[in-house]
């Protein structure tokens, strides 16, 4: 299902898109890193992750072309097995295809590269075009890259588990970025154990797609060709809790935000806001409780809200009073100044 076209059909198109400048730059940089049989890339893997092994002089770069994602995934597994059984050689898999089970349905993933070390262990390589300035890059972008790589590590582990003896998938991945303001590649080893554990747990906890589908009413359809109101009703049938973080991750976020705002949910102001307000979940509930019109005064959240409302009103009143006084004072001062200058003028 294409969520972007669904969002457009719902009347809240997503704002995702990539500038062709960034796209071209990313492709050009990746091509440069992988040029010459991946010599530069393997040099970085050797230098940053596996200094003990012999330098990668002659590396294998198996051909992974096949028809369809299933075919490519099978071809990748085969290449990985062969590479692992040839100790003492470096192997670079350029754009392999991996399959990962997500909530009961297979998802196909395409890492930038996977390297098989001479000892038979596997490393994920992620090539990004944001710069590494003086050895450090934007932490938010590095975090996103690490989360992405962790998913690849999980998928590789599933492939490894099917081999006997099963090879080690390294938990330190290689992040390759342009150095400073040049287009020379530089690498950094990133430990993704934490991201891997988090992603693994989240994947295990995901509600099975089958269960979600079972819970839907009979005949629900998400075709973008449907009239908007029918489509909205269909989307409503799948429960979703919107939070502002969704805006940077999901194509349907603007639609969910509009629904969330319509319902007056306080989460649309951020998850911390929601956490502060206890059992009160809508804007009207909170404001009514703060005004003393609703809510149980024994509830600590309600009591705190009323105190906050009282203190806020008092502070605003004080400020307004000060402003009036100072305005009067200024007026008086101006008047005096005027009088003063008049006097001066007379003399």
């Amino acid at each position: 299902m294409n969520k972007a076209s669904l969002a457009t059909a719902l009347g809240s198109p997503s704002a995702f898109g990539q500038s062709q400048f960034a796209f071209m730059r990313g492709n050009a940089f990746e091509a440069r890193v992988k040029a010459d049989g991946g010599a530069e890339l393997l040099r970085l893997v050797h230098e940053k992750l596996d200094r003990g092994a012999e330098p990668p002089e002659r590396a294998q770069v198996p051909d992974l072309t096949a028809t369809g994602p299933e075919g490519r995934a099978a071809r990748t597994s085969l290449a990985l097995r062969e590479a692992t059984r040839a100790p003492g050689t470096w192997t670079l898999l350029d754009h392999p295809m991996l399959a990962l089970d997500v909530a009961g349905s297979p998802a196909f993933l395409e890492p930038d590269a996977v390297v098989v070390h001479p000892d038979g262990s596997w490393t994920v390589v992620e090539i990004k075009s944001f710069p590494m300035l003086d050895g450090s890059a934007d932490p938010a972008k590095v975090g996103a890259a690490a989360r992405q790589a962790a998913v690849y590590v999980l998928a590789l582990e599933q492939v490894a588990a099917r081999l006997d003896p099963s090879p080690r998938v390294r938990h330190r991945i290689l992040l390759v970025c342009p150095k400073d303001f040049s287009n020379l590649p530089t690498g950094s080893a990133v430990d993704v154990r934490k991201q891997r554990a988090v992603t693994g747990r989240q994947l295990a906890r995901l509600t099975r797609i089958q269960e979600i589908a079972d819970a839907l009413p009979e005949g629900v359809c998400f075709s973008p060709d449907l009239p908007a109101d029918e489509l909205t009703a269909a989307v409503e049938a799948v429960p979703a809790t919107y939070a502002p973080e969704c805006l940077s991750a999901c194509e349907l976020a603007f639609h969910c935000r509009a629904r969330s705002r319509e319902a007056g949910a306080v989460t649309s102001l951020g998850r911390p806001v929601r956490a502060e307000l206890g059992g009160l979940t809508t804007v009207e509930d909170v404001l009514a409780a703060a005004r003393g019109e609703a809510g149980d005064p024994a509830d600590p959240a309600v009591a705190a809200l009323r105190r906050a409302a009282a203190l806020r009103a008092e502070a605003l009143a004080t400020a307004a009073a000060t402003a009036t006084t100072s305005a009067t004072a200024t007026a008086t001062a101006t008047a005096t100044a005027t009088t003063g200058s008049e006097v001066a003028g007379c003399r």
Binding site: G17, A28, G270, L287, R312, S326
Partner: protein, 531 residues
Amino acid sequence: MSLITTLARLEAVRTGRAQPAATVRHRHLSDRPLVFVPLTTAGEAGAPLGALVGTDRDAPRLLVVPQPRDRDLRFAFLSELADVVLPHIEAYADAVETAERTETDPETGKRVKVEVDLCADAAQLIVPSRAGVEFVRLLGRSMRFRRTAEQDPEAPHPAPPRVPLLGRWLTHYGERARVPGSSLLLAMTDLLGRHWATGQSTLEDQHLGALLAWIDPPEGASGAETALRAELARDADGQLLCPPAGPATDPAFDNKLLAPAIERYDRARTALAAAEDGLEADERLAALTAAEREIRALVESRTRPTWDAVWRGLDLLRELPAGAHAEERWTRDRWSFTGHRDRILSGEPPQPRRDDAVTAANKLATREREQARLDAQEALDDPLVMAGRRLAGEAFAGEVVDVTMAYSEGKRPSPRPLVTVRTEDRPHLGDRVRVYRSLDGRPQAAEFAGQETEGVFVLRIVDKMGRGKEPEPGSVPEKGDLVCFTLFEHEQRGGAKLPDPEQTPWTHGGPPGEAAAVPEAADAQTEEDIL
């Protein structure tokens, strides 16, 4: 975010207009701020696309890089930027007044007062958003290690003369922006977000157009709707009506308008280079100029709305009365500005890529101290901020219900009056906890001496009552007075002094030694800068 701000946000949702989050202006605003609205090229580090810059809201200077991947054109842009920014900064650097500063005499080791120059005012730089502040840092980093032809005649691609100097100033501004409460370099979204609470999340508040729509919607319109339009509305060509404040541009703009225009420019340039005679060259030069003018118009169309928005934000902020302590913090900014001016005048090398251990520790300590200072001063200046501290149990306000005179025990008894305060606040008071109130702008300390009943506290005033046996008039609150005590200190004491760089212990890398004496090399440059 305190519950009081949350309430303000919810109130904003209900009314459709932003609500005050402050009653005074907590940042200094210069009379002549330099506004800088930069744009960058997607996917390239430190490749500016253009900018609007200036101090006159009606006449910004438009700077454009028609082909951002061309090093010479980028240098031309930076050189032009230096021509606008450096004279502005230097005008402030030249006007000085004398100030006193305590310094440790190197010979005697005593603290002595010395007279030094302090810039009478400092140049203030305003950018639209937080990403703009980061971009200023990035520009500074990309420029300060460049070598001019004069510094290094051998280097390929020398930088124009004043570009490294601009890099050092921008680095200083970017670095200073990380100090809480400083106002040398400010982001308009942060400024507005500090003073108003909107009915959207802080994440969405990063959009300058939407933020302004909440604060000052057009007559008769709801802020919420105007904000939504500012955020999402597109014209028939799919372009945003309110372009993002940058420095990143909208991908739709890049792909549909900018990329074709740059391509036309590139073609016109190639054609000009291939011209065979003067007549043909003239014609092709005209085509090139037209292509360049087109890109300039595009860049202006994306920066001008943001430029106007920044100035509108300044208007709104100027309507608020200045906070009492904002000026004092600005004086610290002036010291910082003067310090950097002096370092440049004395010929010090540019700021290093990585700080040494002592500098890094000093910076961290400064940021922590300034954060505590900012928190205390904002609360003292603004009853709305104080309300948040009262809610958190860090301050309390109430009425004095009783004053009993008492004296300290000792040879010379000093006054230690007991003041009983009734309050509805719930401060976290333990035995002998110190509390402070502001007495003519200076903190007066008291000790918690006991609780009579629920909400009635007895405090023992301990200082600021003069040297005599009887307290000076006005120094002790009287019955019926309204007082406000805080549990936090009003003035921040500096921490322990750090060793000189030469005394850095080996655990922290040891003394800088010879490595630091060698000036840092310029960035490596690759031949094909154009990918």
